[in-house]
């Protein structure tokens, strides 16, 4: 047995135990990328650096055995900076997008590539679920959204962006789904003031969590500006009515023709557990309901939308006039999460946004690589003309134009998780031109993108251990080293029996199974549940 101290706590471990394992036994997670349970230590990523308290020196804990009398510190400012720097160095040569550019650009943060893939697979109902996860009014926005996502689309560099907005309209119009209100009803009551896009979305997403929602509006009918400011030929009445009905049917109580004066508002603050102000651009009130505000609108916390009053939240054009319905709709979703945190007595953080690796624009050398997962067809214009949406065939064909820029490891990439945890800045070491993306897509169920590889060697060591005839190897050395298949063999010859094991062991998205993706929900404790979509 070996007795050592980790973070001033004594621990006994068996001889031969690494310092990293010893730390893990004491419940301390030491970050690592090149470590693999089935393999010997390799000492590549250097993320597991810890400090020997006696000498003050850092060493990689995965590769050093615990010895008697060791005094180890697993986290302090210096160690934190070391790991952050290591991550930033790795990220500086890690070329790839985590979330697709369209996904990041969407003010409602909708998983567009997943929607595209489900449409391409003919799974319109599932595609609608994916849209409604973030956007409560798919058919409406499918008609009026200026589509910032299309501006960010990588395909734009190649020919024209994917017609995301029309695809969303198509699933909104053609897809069928039932809203899934939480099976466990709560005792909480929330008032949402204003039934425009922000208020409607907030009401919907709050209601899905099993919370009672009362939606107020000064107009007799819900819809706000959507009902009054948009021409019938752009947004037909029945489309709006259908989508509002879908929301109300989840159990949202609507009280129309009801202006709320400051006095009533004060009462509401007490009678409801929380209030969401979604009153739109308003009538130029300087301090609506006495909330702290600027000339532009109500002041809120940027992440949680909480106002200066603890149980009052504000969203949409009440904050500042943007005339971007999709942003209002997105905020409606986000505020639901904040309210959920608030009601559960948690610290308000707002909806978590993970670190995203981004590499900028596609360059011409990369077009053919990205087209390996797409089709060369031009952007499709609906046959029925501008006012008509896509037919099913058109939608499928257009959705197939999506380049699959999003990473398949988006939910299980250790590099991303640590980059997020250590708040790494990918641009810190942007000191020279990036590498060109390539995609090895010849394997039937996995894909290899070498520029995402961090050279941890897990695949090399696993294929060696399991006796793959070709397997992976290091080719070249130093900064230019690549992990590849010897003798330019096909990927399918490199990975036979080990394919799944290797794909699952890759700490980044370099080697990944061809899965469609997922959408996630985070509970109040920050635990995430994900819904996977297979094609």
């Amino acid at each position: 047995m070996r007795i050592l101290k980790i973070n001033n706590t004594e621990i006994q471990v068996e001889e031969g135990t690494s310092v990293m394992q010893a730390a893990q036994m004491s419940g301390i997670h030491v970050p690592n990328l090149c470590w693999h349970d089935e393999l010997d230590h390799f000492t590549s990523c250097m993320l597991c650096l810890v400090k020997d308290q006696k000498t003050g020196k850092l060493f990689p804990s995965c590769s050093v055995q615990a010895t008697d009398g060791m005094e180890i510190v697993t986290d302090d400012d210096e160690i934190h900076e070391a790991r952050k720097t290591a991550l930033e160095l790795l990220l500086s040569e890690h070329v790839g997008d985590c979330e697709a550019p369209c996904h990041i650009a969407c003010p409602a943060h909708m998983n567009i590539p997943l929607m595209n893939r489900l449409i391409a697979a003919g799974k319109f109902d599932q595609a609608l679920e994916v849209v409604r996860h973030d956007i409560a009014l798919p058919s409406v926005l499918g008609r009026i959204c200026p589509a910032p996502c299309e501006g960010a689309c990588h395909r734009k560099s190649l020919d024209e962006p994917v017609s995301v907005c029309l695809l969303k309209r198509f699933v909104g119009d053609s897809g069928q789904m039932a809203a899934k209100v939480s099976a466990q009803p709560t005792k909480w009551n929330i008032a949402v003031i204003g039934a425009g896009p922000a208020g409607l979305a907030a009401a919907y997403h709050i209601r899905l969590r099993g919370i009672h929602v009362t939606l107020f509006d000064q107009a007799a009918q819900p819809g706000g500006m959507l009902r009054t400011a948009i021409a019938e030929e752009v947004l037909p009445q029945h489309v709006l009515d259908d989508e509002i009905e879908f929301i109300l049917k989840t159990g949202v109580k609507f009280l129309g023709g009801k202006s709320i004066d400051p006095e009533e508002f004060a009462t509401m603050q007490k009678s409801y557990d929380a209030v969401v102000v979604a009153t739109g651009t308003g009538a130029g009130e300087q301090q609506p309901f006495g909330l702290k505000a600027t000339p532009k609108g109500i002041l809120v916390d940027r992440n949680s939308y909480q106002t200066d009053v603890e149980n009052v939240f504000a969203i949409g054009n009440a904050l500042r006039s943007s005339r971007l319905a999709v942003r209002s709709v997105g905020q409606g979703k986000e505020v639901a999460f904040s309210i959920w945190q608030y009601l559960n007595g948690k610290t308000l953080t707002g909806e978590p946004r993970m670190f995203n690796s981004r590499f900028g624009k596609l360059v011409s050398d990369e077009y053919s690589e990205y087209l390996k997962e797409s089709v060369p067809a031009k952007r499709i214009v609906p046959g029925g003309g501008g006012r008509e949406g896509f037919s099913a065939d058109e939608a499928i064909a257009e959705a197939k134009r999506c380049l699959h820029c999003d990473c398949r490891a988006i939910d299980n990439c250790k590099l991303r998780v640590y980059a997020d945890e250590y708040e790494a800045d990918q641009k810190r070491f942007k000191t020279s031109d990036r590498r060109k993306m390539t995609k090895l897509n010849t394997h039937s169920f996995l894909i290899y993108e070498p520029q995402k590889c961090i050279k941890c060697g897990i695949c090399v060591r696993l294929t060696e251990k399991y006796g793959e005839r070709f397997g992976f190897t290091y080719i070249g050395r130093g900064f230019d080293v690549v992990v590849g298949v010897p003798f330019h063999e096909e990927l399918s010859n490199a990975l036979t029996e080990t394919a799944i094991r290797v794909a699952k062991s890759c700490p980044t998205g370099a080697i990944e199974l061809k899965e469609n993706g997922s959408i996630g929900n985070v509970n109040a404790d920050g635990e995430e549940t994900r819904t996977k979509y297979e094609s």
């Binding site: 590549s44 250097m46 070391a82 720097t85 040569e93 190897t473 230019d480």
Partner: protein, 780 residues
């Protein structure tokens, strides 16, 4: 259709078919094809237990291996430190232009020549150096590349077989010693040798022609020393073939009256025929009593280089006559292994590879290991681009290195050992191979050495080109047939080394000093130098110094003594700016700290390190940011790529340095560079990465103002090509020399008028400035 690979079958039979044989197999295949054809490698994978992943992994790791066919002839441009400071980059560019090589290619269109940069040819005193196949050209200027190729082509097919003339001992009137170190050979000592043979055979003289190892005075090569039986020996420097006859005749009378007449007549006739205008031999004669030579050699203490310039590297009998192997005999007769270790410990010798770990302590650790199988490795994987000590020791004193290994093996209970030698040192490999054969024949290695009952088998392992393999765990991985990836220590090789067995790894220079300690006693060794830093250290002195060469100096000597006394100060009257000590792991120490004594601790305190022993002197024309960039280019290229901080950290540091030296530096770059240097040092796995930032850190410490100047758009020394422009000043006399030399016609041919340079066309090759007779070209 698969090719018939009988040759590969033969190689496998010769070299073996296991993973540990992989590097020798690949070397043999490359020897066969000039590169490694993929089909041949596939065949190899099919015929052996070595996997495709192992083959491709190893083939791609080592610099020696080419995956693409090379041209018929290899043009190697040395870009070592000394060559770099003397303009090797411009020479390389000139070759690229000459061969018309587009970016990304290195073989000319006809497939005749392949251009290659090599990190050091070990002829630092002839910098800049270019090697075309086996012919080495020194002091090559960018505008001479066409002459180099023309000369090479004129020698094609002329290379005759070497004759060897053996004189009859009784009638020998003396000997003529010819230096055969790589520098001497490179500078043409082979031709001198042929000429001496010719002269001697024509004259019928009874003199012995003797090959000696490196004298160390590499700035004077080729060297010929004439040692008559009576009278003083005379050393001739920078000898040309046409000088040989006069030199020989000056010292030796040809036998018999008629011969003499005949000889004189012959000489006379030849002089008329060739109309050679020759201004006498005196110019090349240097006497040991003359001041420069006395200064160069007099301040040195030869231990590893004992009897330099005197003994024939491979003459075993002579080695023994001069005390060689007496340490081994003494040891077998009267010393137990523990006593040997005690003696080595008392001597205070520390590892000469650079880190300075006490050698005796290391030996003790290995001895304590109880395993039956242990290995000994002599580390001769010298990769520092400005150092060639190991090469010289192996070439010139092979027996001394072997003797040190026998002593080490006996002391630690080892019976099997390797000499790991860079394949770029073919002469060293050959000498050691022959020396091992001779030692085996004379029972200095093999079973029951000299009747002592002690067995030791020694083999050569040829490295394949990877600086990182100087690191002991990477070196071991390489002998095992793997990529030269270092691994974390502990376990140290002394506990778990080669194939998991306890392994003693000592540097070549350490090995070369051991026999002296045992023969002369530890007291004599530790009487040199100071406490904790005893004995001597060999350095490769090069750069802007007047007299470069290989020197062995007592520990504690100051930098000033080395540069000013031994090296004769700065050449061409320039100002002494700094010394770069320790190569890519070391640092630059500025002239104002020249009184720093050279020992492990003081160098480290100054931000440099002993390192491998490269000592490159810099003058006021050298840009310190460019020096930092130069070393980072090297370490970045040599990083094995295993750990994050070294693989990417060195690259990002280099990026920043490249930006700074190309005028793209921006505020904050210096600070980021400093931070990154700190983390690369702290976070890297092995010594390569941990020391790679030293050249940056030390130049930032002493020459920060130069970095700041670059950020502000000025390279103070005008070295950084992207930051300078060439122009003609009023000194111009309109002689058109510059216009004639300009390779891109950027200077119009305007005789008798002040010339001008079209800066749009100018490629800053420096040819005009070098050609101008009146200092009429400004570089700003």
């Amino acid at each position: 259709m698969t090719k018939n690979f009988q040759n590969i079958d033969r190689i496998i039979t010769e070299k073996g078919s296991e993973k540990k044989n992989l590097i020798p197999i690949l070397q043999a295949i490359q020897h066969e094809y000039n590169y490694l054809p993929e089909e041949a490698l596939k065949y190899l994978a099919g015929k052996t237990t070595i996997t495709p992943a192992e083959i491709v992994g190893v083939a791609g790791f080592y610099k020696q291996f080419r995956m693409q066919p090379a041209g018929k002839h290899l043009v190697k441009v040395c870009i070592g430190t000394a060559c770099h400071v003397k303009g090797a980059g411009l020479v390389n560019d000139a070759f690229r232009r000459y061969f018309n090589l587009p970016h990304g290619t290195d073989t000319d269109k006809t497939g005749k020549y392949t251009l290659e940069k090599v990190s050091c040819l070990g002829c630092c005193t002839l910098a800049p150096v270019v090697q075309v196949d086996d012919i080495t050209y020194g002091h090559v200027a960018p505008d001479q590349v066409d002459q180099v190729i023309a000369d090479f082509e004129s020698h094609q097919g002329q290379i005759g077989t070497r004759k060897f003339r053996k004189a009859d001992g009784s009638e020998i009137k003396g000997e003529i010693r010819i230096g055969l170190g790589s520098c001497c050979v490179a500078s043409g000592s082979g031709e001198i040798e042929q000429e001496v043979e010719k002269v001697v055979s024509q004259s019928g003289l009874r003199v012995k022609l003797k090959h000696v190892g490196c004298v160390g005075m590499c700035h004077q090569v080729p060297l010929v020393e004439v040692v008559p039986n009576e009278g003083e020996p005379t050393l001739y420097a920078k000898v040309k073939p046409e000088d040989v006859k006069s030199i020989v005749e000056k010292h030796f009378d040809p036998p018999g009256f008629f011969s003499k007449i005949r000889n004189k007549l012959f000489h006379f006739a030849e002089e008329i025929q060739t109309d050679r205008n020759w201004d006498g031999v005196q110019r090349y004669e240097i006497s040991m009593r003359e001041k420069p030579v006395a200064s160069f050699l007099g301040n040195q203490v030869p231990i590893a280089t004992e009897f330099r310039g005197i003994i024939n590297p491979l003459d075993l009998e002579e080695y023994q006559r001069r005390g060689g192997f007496s340490a081994v005999m003494k040891m077998f007769q009267s010393l137990t292994p523990d006593e040997v270790i005690e003696e080595v410990k008392k001597s205070g010798i520390r590892g000469r590879g650079g880190a300075g770990f006490p050698t005796g302590v290391k030996w003790e650790l290995v001895k304590q290991e109880k395993e039956n199988k242990k290995y000994l490795i002599c580390n001769g994987d010298e990769g520092d681009p400005g150092a060639f000590m190991d090469r010289m020791l192996l070439e010139s004193y092979p027996y001394r290195v072997i003797e040190g290994m026998i002593i080490a093996a006996y002391a630690t209970g080892i019976h099997e050992g390797f000499l790991y030698i860079r394949a770029e040192y073919p002469l060293a490999v050959n000498r050691i191979r022959k020396a091992l054969e001779i030692c085996r024949a004379h029972h200095f290695i093999g079973e029951n050495i000299q009747g002592s009952g002690f067995d030791l088998d020694l083999k050569i392992y040829e490295g394949a080109g990877a600086f990182v393999c100087g690191e002991e765990t990477a070196l071991i991985a390489s002998i095992e047939g793997s990529r030269g990836f270092p691994r974390i220590r502990p376990p140290f090789p002394a506990q778990k080394g080669l194939w998991g067995c306890p392994t003693l790894v000592n540097n070549t220079e350490t090995m070369a000093q051991i026999s002296y300690i045992i023969r002369e006693g530890s007291g004599k060794f530790n009487g040199i130098g100071s406490d904790g830093n005893t004995g001597t250290k060999v350095f490769a002195l090069a750069g802007k110094v007047a007299r470069g060469g290989l020197i062995e100096v007592p520990m504690g000597i100051t930098i000033r003594e080395v540069v000013e006394v031994i090296g004769g100060g700065i050449a061409n009257g320039r100002k002494f700016k700094a010394v770069q000590i320790g190569g890519p792991s070391g640092g630059c120490i500025p002239a104002e700290h020249a009184d720093t004594p050279i020992n492990y601790e003081s160098l480290q305190a100054m931000g440099a390190m002993m390192g491998s022993g490269g000592l490159v002197v810099l003058d006021d024309t050298d840009c310190m940011v460019d020096m930092a960039r130069f070393f980072l280019t090297f370490t970045q290229d040599e990083s094995c790529g295993k750990c994050t901080f070294c693989r990417i950290g060195t690259r990002r540091m280099l990026d920043i340095l490249e930006n700074i030296t190309s005028g793209k530096g921006k505020p904050g770059d210096i600070e980021e560079l400093e931070k990154l240097a700190e983390w690369t040092k702290k976070g890297s796995l092995c010594g390569l990465g941990k020391t790679a930032p030293n050249p940056v850190i030390s130049t930032l410490k002493y020459f920060r103002d130069e970095y700041v100047a670059h950020i502000n758009g000025v390279c103070p020394t005008g070295k950084c090509i992207d930051m300078i422009t060439y122009s003609v000043n009023d000194n111009c006399i309109g002689c058109t020399l510059c216009a004639q030399k300009c390779p891109v016609d950027a200077i119009p041919f305007t005789p008798h008028e002040k010339h001008s340079i079209n800066t749009d066309l100018c490629i800053k090759c420096d040819s005009c400035r070098a050609a101008c007779p009146v200092d009429g070209i400004d570089v700003r």
